[in-house]
C-alpha cells in the first residue's frame, strides 16, 4: 500500500450465501470495525445480523425504486460508498455472496476509490458457484467449467465447449430488466434457450436446476431433469442452471506420453 494514500479506506466484503456461517473471519472483523458500513443483502435475517454487528450500518437497498433503471441504482450505490470514503472514514461495503461475483457496484467502488487515491480492496466471499460445486459434488478442475449470465449467453450466442461443464446464471430472469413479485421464467423464453442448447446436447442430456441453501436449517434445491423438460419446469429468479459435460474427447496421445518421459 502506498504511504501517499489519502485518509479514508474502503474494504468490500461478502456475507456468503448461507446466513452467518459463510462469512469469513476476515470479513467479520472488517464489518465490526468499520466506521461506516453500507450493505446490500437479500433477506431480513442477514440484515438483522449485520445491524447487530455494527450499529452504524446503513442499507443501500433504497437505491432501488420501482421503474428506476438498475444501472442508475448501481451508480448511486457507488456514489454513496465513495462519499463515505471521502469523509476519511474506514468504510466497509457488504454484499451478499461473493462481493465481486455478479455485483457491479463492488468492483466499481474499489476501482473508483483507488483512482481517487484511497486504499481499497475486496475480500473474497463464498458464492453460489462455490456452494454448487460442494452440493453437486463436481470439481471444475476435472473437465473445466464455463460460466455465463444466461441472457447474455443466449443473446450473444456465446461460444463454449459442451465437453466442459456449463453454468448459466440468472436463468430465471431471461431478458427481464427488473424483478416482479412471484416471477418465474417465461416458458417461451426457456423454450428458446432449450432450442439453442439442443444444438450441442442430446434431448435427454441431464441438467440441474440449483439454488444454494440460504439458511443453516434449509436444504439446497437440486432438481435433476432432462434438457427437453426445461421449458415446462418452474424456474425462479434465483435459480442457476448447471449442465454437466458431455463425454470428453479422446486425449492427444503425444501429450499423454509426456507422463512417461524421464
Amino acid at each position: 500500500m502506498s504511504d501517499s494514500a489519502r485518509a479514508g479506506e474502503l474494504v468490500v466484503v461478502g456475507t456468503g450465501i448461507k446466513l452467518i456461517v459463510q462469512t469469513t473471519i476476515e470479513a467479520l472483523e472488517c464489518i465490526k470495525r468499520a466506521d461506516r458500513l453500507l450493505y446490500l443483502v437479500t433477506e431480513p435475517a442477514t440484515e438483522t445480523w449485520v445491524r447487530r454487528l455494527n450499529p452504524a450500518a446503513e442499507t443501500l437497498r433504497d437505491c432501488y425504486a420501482p421503474g428506476k433503471p438498475r444501472d442508475r441504482s448501481y451508480r448511486e450505490m457507488v456514489q454513496r460508498i465513495l462519499a463515505s470514503v471521502r469523509t476519511g472514514a474506514y468504510v466497509c461495503a457488504v454484499f451478499y455472496g461473493h462481493p465481486g461475483v455478479f455485483v457491479n457496484p463492488g468492483h466499481d467502488a474499489v476501482r473508483r476509490a483507488r483512482r481517487e487515491g484511497f486504499r481499497a480492496r475486496m475480500l473474497p466471499g463464498i458464492s453460489t458457484e462455490d456452494c454448487l460445486f460442494a452440493d453437486l459434488g463436481v470439481d471444475p478442475g476435472d473437465e473445466g467449467c464455463q460460466s455465463f449470465e444466461a441472457t447474455s449467453f443466449l443473446a450473444c450466442r456465446c461460444r463454449f465447449d459442451p465437453t466442459s461443464a456449463l453454468i448459466l446464471w440468472q436463468v430465471g430472469v431471461l431478458g427481464e430488466p427488473s424483478i416482479r413479485k412471484d416471477m418465474q421464467c417465461r416458458p417461451e423464453r426457456l423454450r428458446r434457450l432449450t432450442t439453442y442448447l439442443r444444438r450441442y446436447y442430446a434431448v435427454r442430456h441431464p441438467v440441474v436446476l440449483y439454488e444454494a441453501a440460504q439458511f443453516p436449517i434449509s436444504k439446497p434445491r437440486i432438481q435433476r431433469i432432462a434438457l427437453a423438460n426445461l421449458p415446462t419446469t418452474t424456474v425462479w429468479p434465483i435459480t442457476t442452471l448447471y449442465i454437466p459435460p458431455k463425454p470428453s474427447r479422446k486425449p492427444d496421445q503425444a501429450v499423454m506420453r509426456w507422463f512417461d518421459e524421464k
Partner: protein, 96 residues
C-alpha cells in the same frame, strides 16, 4: 420484514450450541419461542422458499436486490466494407 423470525434465526445460528439443539430436537426449541405456527412450520420444513416467505419475502424478491442487469449486447455498427474499386465501365455494345 419479519423481525421476530429474523431475530430467532440470527440467535439460532450465532448462539453457541443452539443450532445443535435445534437439529437434535427442533420441536422443543420452537416451542420455547414466540413464533407463530406458520413460522414454526416453515422452519421445520427446511424449505428455503417457505422460510423466505415467512420472513416476508415474495418469490424472487430475494434475488431482486442482487441480480445484475443482463447486459444487452451492444448494437455495433456494421464495419463499413471497403469501397469497391470501380471496374472500368463496360462500354455498351449496343448500337445507339
Amino acid at each position: 420484514m419479519n423481525i421476530d423470525l429474523s431475530n430467532f434465526l440470527v440467535d439460532l445460528v450465532s448462539q453457541q450450541g443452539r443450532i445443535a439443539d435445534f437439529l437434535a430436537d427442533p420441536g422443543r426449541v420452537l416451542d420455547e419461542s414466540s413464533l407463530t405456527a406458520e413460522e414454526k412450520s416453515a422452519l421445520l420444513s427446511g424449505d428455503g422458499a417457505r422460510i423466505r416467505k415467512a420472513l416476508g419475502l415474495a418469490a424472487g424478491e430475494a434475488a431482486a436486490s442482487v441480480l445484475n442487469k443482463s447486459k444487452k449486447p451492444s448494437k455495433r455498427k456494421p464495419t463499413p466494407k471497403p469501397a469497391k474499386k470501380k471496374k472500368p465501365g463496360r462500354k455498351s455494345n449496343q448500337k445507339k
